[in-house]
Amino acid sequence: MGSYIPNSKAEQERMLDFLGLASLDDLYDEIPDKVKLKDGLNIPEGKSELEVRRRMETLAGKNTVFHTIFRGAGAYRHYIPAIVKAVASKEKFITAYTPYQPEISQGVLQSIFEFQTMICELTGMDVANASVYDGATACAEAISMCVDRKRDVVYVSATVHPDYLRTVKTYCYAAGRKLVVVPEKDGVTDIAFLKENLDEKSAAFLMQQPNFYGIIEDAETYFGVAREAGAKSIMCINPFYGAIGRTPRECGADIAVGEGQPLGISLGFGGPYLGFMACVQEMTRKLPGRIVGQTTDLEGKRAFVLTLQAREQHIRREKASSNICSNQGLCALTAACYMSTMGPSGIKEVANQCLSKAHYAAKLISSVPGYELVFDAEFFHEFVTKCPVSVNKLMAKLERQGILGGYPLGGPYEGCILWCFTEMNTKEEIDQLVAILKEGIQE
């Protein structure tokens, strides 16, 4: 490798000549001799392309690749149309870093603008930003949007993804905010606790839809309680659920956030993922990170700009309520490609397939003795069952057949399994799973 460095000996000579230098080392004249490396770098010789490929393929071969996956818990396997990867891997997109002179990169800005527009359509919100790192960051940033001098206590439901909750805790700890975890009751947010505790010090209430256990919560009622107390409502939503369920806007949320990975981004061992954020018009100026706006140029043609830059943290650092100044560019572009490839009807169809496959699976799995549903509640594409045998042994057995089983829960639901079904799972796969569950395991 290394034969692709695009400046030849002759070109180097020419450049040195132009600069009036005798050798490349002369470029480093200003650096004191004693800090210069004398013996070169202690790294092995370069390898040929064939050798590199062999090495990488050996490493990749160590991965366990499951042909069947029944696990979600925050990362969801969906079909990614070939065109999505083809477009997103075009070198002008894949090699570009966030544009420092953004308006010169109209193509990148347009892709972000389209992404924002589609996120607004999915969530029913007025304004979306160019994205943040992931769903967890989006939750934490949304909370930062709501806190002010008078209202600095934030409420997060215990049914939010535990990783998101941890990220929110870290943010709150660092910002000196009080965080109250609203307890869970029968798999959903304890509404009585909300009613009793929200007051004039409450800044925001954050819930997840569907929640970590896959359950569709009564967001509207919670948000009504929050509104009465003058607190902002934040919904962390699965984008596919947004396509068929009530949108965050319809439920009365002020801010909608979520993990954008399901929208065409590979599971990829947990990253890079994509946090999306959208809000109602009145909160636009609190929205962190980049926001692309549409305008017209001097000739009256459609053009894109970064807007509300005056509030970005690199300009108003000491007053910034967020330190996000960039965005998850390539992932946002990928999601934009995915959404435009699928279209509203395609996204709805995926959502409906997830919904019906999960319900088919729930019916069958829960009919196997010992695998009863833990919650009697509406769910989207995930649900929790009991497990009559050792969860670890069951997972090992499934693994031997190339199947990644559901997510083994901990805490109050130790010994239970969170299953997930998407359009990727066929009826045959589900039936096979049920047959394996029926077989039981040798304890």
Partner: protein, 126 residues
């Protein structure tokens, strides 16, 4: 640069117009609006908020930057000018006619300048 002879000025370019001993209107000076450029958004305090000397009570956004608006007095916000919240550009066209907040129960007044000293102050700063 315009100044109004009947009002007082702060070093951070706010003006104060006393209605009586403990009540005053607060706005941004002509110099401030000129430096900031076209104003597009103003972040207001709420009625009943306490304000205190040299402490920001809100901020104002122009096409160029976001800047704090400091209070030149200690007191309580009695009223915010909704018309300015809706149309911050009015500060550009008529800075001394566009009060931002009305403060009552004033207990302390910061180090303020009269029109002549403020004019000199701005010239030195420029």
């Amino acid at each position: 640069m315009k100044v109004d002879k009947d009002i007082k000025y702060s070093k951070t370019h706010e003006w104060v117009k006393f209605l009586d001993d403990t009540t005053a209107l607060i706005g941004l000076t002509d110099y401030a609006q000129e430096q900031l450029g076209d104003l597009v958004f103003i972040n207001m305090p709420a009625e009943g908020d306490e304000v205190s000397c040299d402490t920001p009570f809100g901020d104002i956004e122009s096409v160029k930057a976001v800047s704090d608006i400091n209070s030149p007095v200690d007191g309580i916000v009695a009223e915010v000018n909704e018309e300015i919240a809706e149309n911050p550009e009015n500060i550009n066209s008529d800075p001394y006619g566009s009060w931002i907040i009305k403060v009552s129960n004033i207990t302390e007044i910061c180090d303020l300048m009269d029109a002549d000293s403020y004019e000199r102050f701005c010239q030195e700063e420029a």
